[in-house]
Amino acid sequence: MLTILFDGFAYGMILFVLACGLSVTLGLMNFINLAHGAFAMAGGYLTVVLMNRFGVSFFLCIPAGFLVSAALGILLERTLYVRLYARSHLDQVLFSIGLVFMAVSGIDYFMGAQQQLITLPPSLQGRVNLFGIQVGVYRLFVIAICLVLALALQLVLTRTRFGSQLRAAVDDARVARGLGINVSLIFTFTFAFGSGLAGLGGVLGAEILGMDPTFPLKFMIYFLVVISVGGTTTLTGPLLASILLGIADVAGKYYVPTVGSFIIYTIMVVVLILRPQGLFGRATTR
């Protein structure tokens, strides 16, 4: 029972790390960025290449995945995304899904279609006994990173000057500009940060979820479920939603395997009926 709870929690954390970057771009910037998974894939493949071809340590791949994806984010934001902020959501969806397909074919072309595997350093393998339950070391590691991340993000957004500038920029870019806030710089930075988080998710997820060229499409549904259940206006929303969904999914599959895989969707439907803005979202006034 406790093992199931722990596994569900760990799985939820992986969902969170994959989705929290999206809650930054989609939620905070109000940009429908379906290409989020492509940035995650960039992080994942970077890890694969670094570890398998160059023998780089996994611990170094974690910051590398974040930085490279963030750099990619800056590049794409400056050249492509910036043109679409003012456009309709439909345009944004079409544009970003197009990016996904390009990323899928690109990776397929350069890396091949097969699954890419990494081998964790020995210190992250195996399991340990924690309060009488057997838990995987790697899962514990992922949980720790996620919790720190969630806390840090929330603090940045609510307690810092940058956080309030960002919120102002999103809510009304014109007024924010009038107040002397460099909106486009803030947007670039935020987008890069969201992309970096996606890349980090890719690095951490590569071991458990596997990496192949269809990654962004396969997991798009999971990001979106987390974001829609959690709401997009805060970070605690997606965090709690991921935990809820992770535990429900794992427990469902354990106890009622025949319907287990639907539970995650059932929860989403119920939440969206009761609270269309997500569990923790504020109702939009716009």
Binding site: Q114, L117, L209, T214
Partner: protein
């Protein structure tokens, strides 16, 4: 238009007609429909590489006919496969359809094969029922029950009495689950739980935990090859082996394409399958070498299905003396036997399924790379599902 013009036009038309007729007689077209993109692209790559390798090795002329290969990408989607098959038959007038990475893709094509009387070579899709859907379907890959039953037979003789099965929730998975249970219980084994995982499922924790709680001697797994690595990793991460649970799988899980990337977690895992890149025969050594050179990867079990599929088409054409008529070609395929890189194989004239040796293998390190090393052979295995129906 006066009469003379009409005459000229008619003659020209006739000339054109005979010209295309003559052309059609000189060329035998093979329509190879494969998932070249999407999640099953690696299957497509393997088979395409093998088909081209076979043609490079054996030339493109058979019994005075030029062989033309037309490769089409169906992205692994059944309605696309069906549309492409239709186009290939109607517009390109192919003599043979081949490929088919997944069961639904082969099933979608079955009615076309029957209607157009075009022999259809299934090189990868592995549910038992496929060949029953059209009298024109011939299989050169394998069926899941065919490779599963020998493992279920081997297990109780080797100290595995209680097993939990874990399969992907789709046609081949159900086939594997059923075949394993039937043979295993007949041999005195007991299946404690039958777990089915959804196709799109990144997390195996709940299923593995369930398996662990049931305390079996072994966990039997069939999942498609890409998914297999995730199961292997999580099996290792959970340290089920330390709880005394062995892992036995079908060869799909230890696909040669990705096996080497799995790392030491795969060492010692026992599986059963019809092909391993480490198969010890001169034919296979030559094939592995040639394929690595031309495609820069190891051949896998799908690839060998493609290689033998091409061989079957060539053999049949030789037998009909170049006559590409669908029904004659099909008859010529039935009962063919040859030495494949995987060992001796033949086409069962009744079921049109391949009869082949199945091997029990264990993952070992050979020259620093991981391979499935065969240690026991079950000879001339037919698809047990169809054998049981008789």
């Amino acid at each position: 238009m006066n009469r003379r013009h009409l005459l000229i036009a008619a003659t020209a038309g006739l000339g054109l007609l005979t010209a295309t007729g003559a052309y059609a007689q000189q060329t035998v077209k093979i329509g190879l429909i494969l998932p070249m993109s999407g999640p099953f692209a690696s299957t497509g790559r393997q088979i395409e590489g093998m088909a081209k390798l076979y043609m490079a090795q054996n030339g493109n002329m058979v019994a005075g006919k030029k062989i033309e290969l037309i490769v089409k990408d169906d992205t692994g989607t059944a309605d696309v496969t069906k549309r492409i098959a239709q186009e290939l038959v109607v517009n390109e007038k192919v003599s043979v359809l081949a490929g088919f990475g997944l069961t639904p893709l082969a099933l979608a094509t079955a009615p076309i094969a029957t209607q157009a009387k075009v022999p259809t070579i299934v090189m990868a899709a592995a549910t038992s029922i496929i060949t029953e859907q059209s009298p024109y379907i011939v299989r050169t890959g394998f069926t899941l029950p065919q490779v599963t039953a020998p493992l279920a037979e081997w297990a109780p003789k080797n100290g595995i009495k209680k097993v939990v099965t874990l399969v992907s929730d789709y046609g081949p998975g159900h086939d594997a689950e059923k075949a394993f249970k039937e043979t295993f219980t007949k041999g005195g084994g007991q299946v404690l739980a039958e777990l089915r995982v959804p196709m799109a499922n990144p997390e195996f924790a709940p299923f593995l935990q369930r398996a662990r709680d049931a305390k079996p001697d072994a966990l039997f797994v069939f999942v498609p090859s890409g998914v297999g690595s995730a199961v292997m990793k999580q099996f290792a991460e959970r340290e089920l082996a330390k709880d005394g649970i062995r892992l036995i799988v079908t060869g799909d899980v230890l696909d040669d394409d990705i096996l080497n990337g799995m790392g030491d977690t795969a060492l010692g895992v026992v599986s059963s399958h019809h092909y391993s890149a480490a198969h010890n025969s001169p034919e296979n050594k030559a094939l592995v070498e040639a394929f690595k050179k031309s495609n820069n990867m190891r051949p896998n079990f799908h690839g060998v299905g493609g290689y033998d599929g091409m061989h079957l088409i060539y053999q049949a054409l030789k037998k009909t003396n170049g006559d590409a008529d669908g029904t004659k070609l099909l008859e010529a395929m039935k009962g063919q036997s040859w030495t494949s890189p995987r060992g001796p194989v033949s086409i069962d004239p009744e079921t049109r399924d391949i009869v082949q040796n199945v091997f029990i293998r264990k993952v070992e390190k050979v020259n620093g790379e991981l391979y499935n090393v065969e240690f026991a052979t079950i000879e001339k295995v037919k698809d047990p599902v169809k054998a049981a129906k008789k």
